[in-house]
């Protein structure tokens, strides 16, 4: 029989309290209970990276984490990258370089790339290859994905394009605290 458990997570800046099945993974809860289907399901053994999310700013395969383990954590999914309707620099760079093909791996790639840039704001190509090695792309746009991460990292160095445009400020890469989406009222 399923055991239910009450948990509270902050997901993309919004506090969510809910009863979950104790055996459900974070991936299942995000997709099925919260309707955040941007995070994808593929291998379910932590090899493909399609389900990558940030839990307290650490990138994890959400298929390998029980939702109960994320109780009290801050979770960021691909839906939380764009702020105020403005694309995150990584998202824009992925579009600009043609890194997006079928798109199924892209949410995981973006989250893994964001975690990488948080650890290493100006990664070398080798660091990017290693940092994204857990995210499979069968369209194999790896070259373009690497170019996108390099472009986003360069953008961050020269100042955010959003600021230059005088638009809303996108969060700086290392600035973890700025992620919560202020537009969404807590539940």
């Amino acid at each position: 029989m399923t055991t239910s458990r009450q948990i509270e997570m902050t997901v993309n800046g919004r506090t969510r309290s809910m009863a979950i099945a104790a055996h459900h993974t974070l991936l299942e809860v995000l997709r099925d209970d919260l309707g955040l289907t941007g995070t994808k399901e593929c291998c379910l053994v932590g090899e493909c990276g399609a389900c990558t999310v940030l839990v307290d700013e650490v990138s994890v395969d959400s298929c390998l984490v029980l939702a109960a383990e994320a109780d009290g954590a801050c979770v960021t999914t691909v839906e939380g990258l764009a702020v105020g309707g403005r694309l995150h620099p990584l998202q824009q760079a992925f579009l600009d370089t043609g890194a997006v093909q079928c798109g199924f791996c892209i949410p995981g790639q973006l989250i893994a790339a964001r975690a990488l840039l948080a650890r290493s704001p100006h990664p070398s190509r080798a660091e990017i290859e290693e940092g994204l090695a857990g995210n499979l792309c069968r369209c194999a746009g790896y070259e373009q994905i690497i170019e996108a991460v390099l472009a986003a990292a360069a953008l961050d160095e020269t100042g955010d394009r959003a600021v230059a445009d005088g638009d809303a400020h996108a969060p700086a890469m290392g600035d973890r605290a700025s992620t919560p989406n202020a537009d969404v009222a807590p539940q």
Binding site: K40, V78, Q101, F104, I106, P107, C137, R138, C139, A140
Partner: protein, 751 residues
């Protein structure tokens, strides 16, 4: 105009793909849906006895355990080439993973638990999973001969045999100074789209709706209509953009099962396969290919004899067509006066093989191009020179009664050679190799489209193509933008719903930019003709004095944007102008393939590798891929397709293969034990380039191009390995172990 043809606007649909909004099948939610889980037995070939569902039905929330007994008798069968695949296994399973039952429950947890509790009495029987076993005397028959009436091979496991040839082979054999004879093998590999297959079905009024990430929505519509006895119009196929397909999502798999379940329950049903189940649903055919080629001592090819056996699975799916098509052009892009090709589709108790990027060609190109490399070595002729010497020139007929060479292919080969530095000294410890690949494009085709020019000048394109990552939406939007004078951001491309978009035969053979592209172009031209009539009426001039093209209306010296005429012409009620496009390539019944090639895909790949002699590990140091694309409608997407195909090709070249054990169970199911290239497996340096001579049959001279760069990867890499360490390897993949063993054997054999 932004996004016009030949530029690279951002992918249409790209924003949804970076924000998580793009809804793939598994992301869709249907009210009141039942979750389905397949029930399989732990055997490849098993005689199915009683199926006891009592414990499963006791699981709270379980609503149905469907078995063959719940389906019409005889069991409905389907398949794109032969109606041989039952909706559920009946009597005997034919491969490891074939479902014998399916559970539908209120939750996926309940469905999974119940599926484990369905008890299936099963007597395991000997299974065939190699060519040798399937072709052995007295081998059990994979398919009941009663399913194959009037089939001369019905008493064997040969599903069919294809024979092609021309010229005087016996005479040519006498002319050869050198004969190269080799046998090459290509493993079973799987498409491994990152999106596992997902399906839904629901009663839809007096009809049915099916959701599937399918490449051919209209083909699926026919299959379902036929199976459940509904008119086409009452079968609505909704095909959200696939999350990768690569051929594996061309044809029906579990949609028929779901249709029967939905109709039985009167409720929506949903099945999302695991990756492991997807491995057991789709793969590429393995092959063993013997190539005998004769040359004069100056390198002139005088004959080619090819015998290819493809190990297909338990059901035909589209596999036999991949064998036919992959064999017909297997001699390659060369002039060869005498050729004999025999190819067989051999049934086995394995996952039914189906279309996979390259469609039967990579297996034979691996063999024939490797044999070209061996020939060059034996003849003492440079491998590049040998190929150039025999390559068909532009317009040359190299396949009797088929499309002549539709490109200046030497340009492509020379460009690849130039980029890799062919002829310059190879850095110490490295080897260089080069190979070419040719594939026949679609042999028939039919693509309708409608284009709607709305009152403000924005555009809606309706096209039945599936955008599985190749970027068809973007291409069609660019064509419409160019022709109707709208910025590409003003174009919406609607796909994937048979209730909405007009008929398209299929999304395969790299056809969409050409066939649907031409259809969209014609629909735009239909609109242009209507705009011309409007302008004639508004300006009181003869239609003949008005020209409408590339978004503009020319009346004498005056040039007006289409939109000006549109707004005035539509008048106070507004509305829209609708254009209809139809592009067809008729069948040619006398042709061995049923039609000539609409175009050829041609690629030359050149690589430089390093081989670790102690471990057998191959590092691809430099990689060059050059494709003849006719015209790059979107250069960024062309690059994505070429480089993506190259890396996919490195998968079957270096690491990918199904491993069956002696009982016929697939042992490396899933992402842990079956490796595909990651970002750590890229060539150290990669360069892609294209040849554009505007000489294709598509819009603005485009050719299809999404498969070409995969075709010659393996023979190019193997040639480079041979160049680096002197061993010829004829079996894929070139795993470290295989390379190491070859090096050891070479050492033992060395004098």
């Amino acid at each position: 105009m932004t996004g016009s043809v030949g530029t690279s606007p951002a992918r249409v649909g790209g924003i949804g793909r970076v924000t998580g909004q793009q809804a793939y099948v598994a992301d869709l939610d249907l009210e009141d849906v039942l979750h389905v889980k397949l029930v399989t037995v732990d055997a490849a070939r098993g005689r199915i006895g009683e199926i006891d569902a009592r414990a499963a039905l006791d699981v709270p929330g379980v609503r149905l355990v469907m078995t063959a007994a719940d389906l019409p008798h005889p069991i409905p069968r389907f398949g794109p080439q032969r109606r041989d695949r039952p909706v559920l296994a009946v009597g005997e399973t034919k491969y490891h993973g074939e479902p014998v039952a399916a559970v539908a429950a209120e939750t996926s947890d309940a469905a999974e638990e119940a599926a484990r509790l369905v008890r299936v009495a099963c007597e395991e029987l000997p299974a065939l999973h190699t060519l040798a076993a399937s072709l052995a005397d007295r081998a059990p028959l994979v398919q009941d001969p009663s399913l194959r009436p009037d089939d001369p091979h019905a008493g064997t496991n040969v599903l069919s045999e294809h024979r092609y040839g021309w010229g005087d082979l016996d005479g040519a054999m006498r002319e050869a100074d050198v004969v190269i004879d080799g046998t090459y093998t290509f493993p079973m590999v799987t498409q491994f789209a990152i999106e596992p297959h997902a399906f839904m079905a629901a009663p839809d009024g007096d009809g049915i709706a099916i959701w599937s990430a399918i490449q051919h929505p209209y083909w699926l519509q026919r299959v379902i209509a036929d199976l459940v006895g509904l008119p086409l119009a009452k079968v609505r196929v909704i095909a959200p953009d696939p999350g990768g397909a690569f051929g594996g999502k061309q044809h029906a798999k579990y949609e028929p099962l779901l249709a029967f379940m939905a109709l039985k329950m009167g409720r929506p049903v949903r099945l999302v396969l695991t990756l492991e189940e997807t491995f057991q649903a789709v793969r590429r055919g393995a092959a063993q290919v013997r190539v005998r080629s004769g040359f004069r001592s100056d390198g002139t090819l005088v004959f080619r004899e090819i015998d290819a056996d493809y190990l297909i699975g338990a059901y035909a799916d589209i596999a036999d067509r991949t064998v036919a098509k992959g064999s017909y052009t297997s001699g390659g892009p060369y002039r060869c006066p005498a050729t004999r090709i025999v190819a067989r589709s051999v049934l086995s108790h394995t996952v039914p093989s189906t279309a996979f990027r390259g469609f039967g060609n990579p297996q034979q190109i691996w063999a024939v191009e490797s044999s070209m490399d061996e020939a060059a070595l034996q003849l003492g002729i440079d491998p590049l020179a040998l190929r150039l010497k025999n390559l068909a020139g532009p317009g040359e007929v190299f396949l009797p009664d088929d499309r002549p060479a539709d490109g200046d292919w030497a340009q492509t080969v020379n460009r690849a050679a130039e980029l890799i530095g062919w002829g310059t000294p190879v850095p110490p410890g490295r080897g260089r190799g080069l190979a070419v690949g040719l594939k026949s494009g679609p042999t028939t085709g039919l693509s309708y489209s409608t284009v709607r020019l709305l009152a403000d000048g924005s555009v809606v394109v309706n096209a039945g193509t599936s955008d599985m990552g190749q970027g068809a939406r973007t291409i069609f939007a660019q064509i419409a933008a160019q022709e109707l004078g709208a910025p590409v951001e003003w174009v919406r491309v609607v796909m994937g719903d048979t209730a909405v978009v007009p008929y398209d035969q299929q999304t395969s053979a790299s056809r969409s930019s050409v066939l649907m592209g031409n259809s969209v172009l014609l629909a735009c031209q239909d609109i242009q003709a209507k705009i011309r009539a409007m302008a004639a009426r508004l300006e009181s001039v003869e239609e003949g004095d008005i020209e409408v093209s590339r978004g503009e209306v020319r009346i004498g010296d005056r040039v007006l944007p289409i939109r000006d005429i549109l707004v005035r012409g539509l008048g106070r009620l507004g509305g829209e102008v609708i254009g209809i496009g139809e592009a067809r390539k008729e069948a040619e019944p006398g042709h061995p393939l049923g039609g000539t090639a609409a175009f050829y895909e041609f690629n030359c790949t050149a690589v430089e590798v390093e081989v670790d002699r102690d471990t057998g590990d191959i590092v691809v140091a430099r990689y060059v891929t050059v494709s003849d694309v006719g015209k790059a409608l979107n250069p960024t997407q062309v690059r994505g397709q070429d480089e993506g195909a190259a890396i996919m090709g490195l998968g079957h070249t270096l690491m990918e293969q199904y491993i069956y054990d002696v009982t016929g169970r697939l042992r490396n199911l899933g992402a842990i034990d079956y490796r595909i290239p990651t970002s750590m497996d890229l060539p150290l340096q990669m360069e892609s380039d294209i040849v554009e001579n505007d000489d294709g049959p598509g819009p603005y001279g485009a050719k299809g191009m999404s498969e070409g760069a995969l075709l010659p990867v393996a023979p190019a890499v193997a040639a480079a390995v041979r160049d680096a360490v002197g061993v010829v390897i004829r079996d894929l993949p070139l795993t470290p172990e295989r390379v190491w063993r070859a090096l050891q054997e070479a050492q033992v054999d060395a004098p």
